[in-house]
Point group: C2
Chain length 299, copies 2
Amino acid sequence: MAERETQIVLGLDPDPGSLWPQSTTGVAPGASGEAAALRAVAAHCTALIDAAGEACVAIKPQLARFEALGPGGNGVLREVCEHARAAGLLVIADGKRGDIDVTAAAYAASLTDGLATSFGELRGLDADLMTVNPLMGRDAVEPFVAAARRTGAGVLVLVRTSNPGAEDVEDLELADGRAVWEALAALVTALGDGGVGESGLSDVGAVVGATRPGHLERARELMPHAPFLLPGVGAQGGRVEELAAAFAPGRAGGLVTASRSIANAHRDSGGDPAAAARAEAERLRESAWELSAQALARG
Amino acid sequence: MAERETQIVLGLDPDPGSLWPQSTTGVAPGASGEAAALRAVAAHCTALIDAAGEACVAIKPQLARFEALGPGGNGVLREVCEHARAAGLLVIADGKRGDIDVTAAAYAASLTDGLATSFGELRGLDADLMTVNPLMGRDAVEPFVAAARRTGAGVLVLVRTSNPGAEDVEDLELADGRAVWEALAALVTALGDGGVGESGLSDVGAVVGATRPGHLERARELMPHAPFLLPGVGAQGGRVEELAAAFAPGRAGGLVTASRSIANAHRDSGGDPAAAARAEAERLRESAWELSAQALARG
């Protein structure tokens, strides 16, 4: 992040129904429905990376969107990740997985270094970060942390998400006065112990929406070393006083993720989708980088 | 279930490191690592279905295990599901997905009827039931319920899982005296309203481990119409008084899932893996069917 001077994460949520128009030009005439959709999604994602990638530190492919493409979706996901890596970007696999021990280990292997089998190596996705769902408890998250430590990657645990439904479970008040999400934050801190590097950041981070004033400050109190993935902050005009808490351990303390606001920037601004995406990503980059400087100066 | 007289769900968690020996006989010599692993896993799963399927009502493929096979894993998953369907079995896609609205909709489409796109139809998995993680709240589960209602399928929401880590979050006590899992149970009941069929069962069910006495009774109280997926009850020797609660709305109120205890039965009993799996599945079937009869007679 220091090298690229950006905290922006390019979310990739390709919907075959709203790809950039030029994505279909490389599709062979007569290609079957699935094959044509796969090529068009790959073209869309690589064009988006080429346009906006320079202003970003990572891509965040939404695994659901690639799974929805059918059996060929995983191959396209890998192709897109390779393209991003070649452009110097990190890969945040956004799958929000979580399951019992052996199953979590299988998910984690498939997202990182793959499986060694008697048939040979089955290659994983080589992700740098993975989002994980902690509902099932510590033993459902630990295999992801183990895989992350084995491969130099990191884990981003859902703590307080930005969707309206977050109130239904994450915000419930516990008997000890904490919210459920504060208990999840404590789990993140416990799991991250021993994974804090020279940067002051841990390899166990958190997904924290800034949709309520005070959430980020409280989250930072509970998770002093966790990198935060901040959904939609940039696009929603995140406020300095909120971001200050995210950046308390340093500029890399907050990853600002934006997806549709970049890919669909041309719908507001008009003109070429790639040029509009590049301009919007650069605008977000400047804005977040400046906000983090102000936040650090205040802190 | 009535037709097949069984509540047993055959869990498919294929580990390339412990497949039945005969699974590798169909693998072409010189096949690459990945291709060989894919063929062997497919052969293992179809052999397991052929052996034990008759005593079961459904298969429950663990999506993690197929994802870990790499880009070809989803194709093998579909092939295995087709094989099960041809044998008259239902398919329970065990992926424990959960995400914000549009993303949850993409997951749900990929597990059920697929996506209609301008490139044509992208086929989904056609699952009959899907496991879903409710941490992110009601709006993260609703798209799965919508897809289920569109396709005549059902949803199984994680409520109280059977792993040790379930104590870390699901068992936390809320300010109102309930456990977190009891709040999840209330969500299941709210979502299932309007989805209760002639059978007395809803299309929104729950994953409920019977690892603590009293859990199933309380779960049934809170979710009177929900079908329960009961992890490991059969293999762990579920007790009649516990199961009684699961079967209160009828014999289909409890789906008893077993995986390694069937696939690895030959390790205890010796002999042919297929014969041992068939015998173990039939033993579980008889035992659960008899228990449900006793439970209903008592209830």
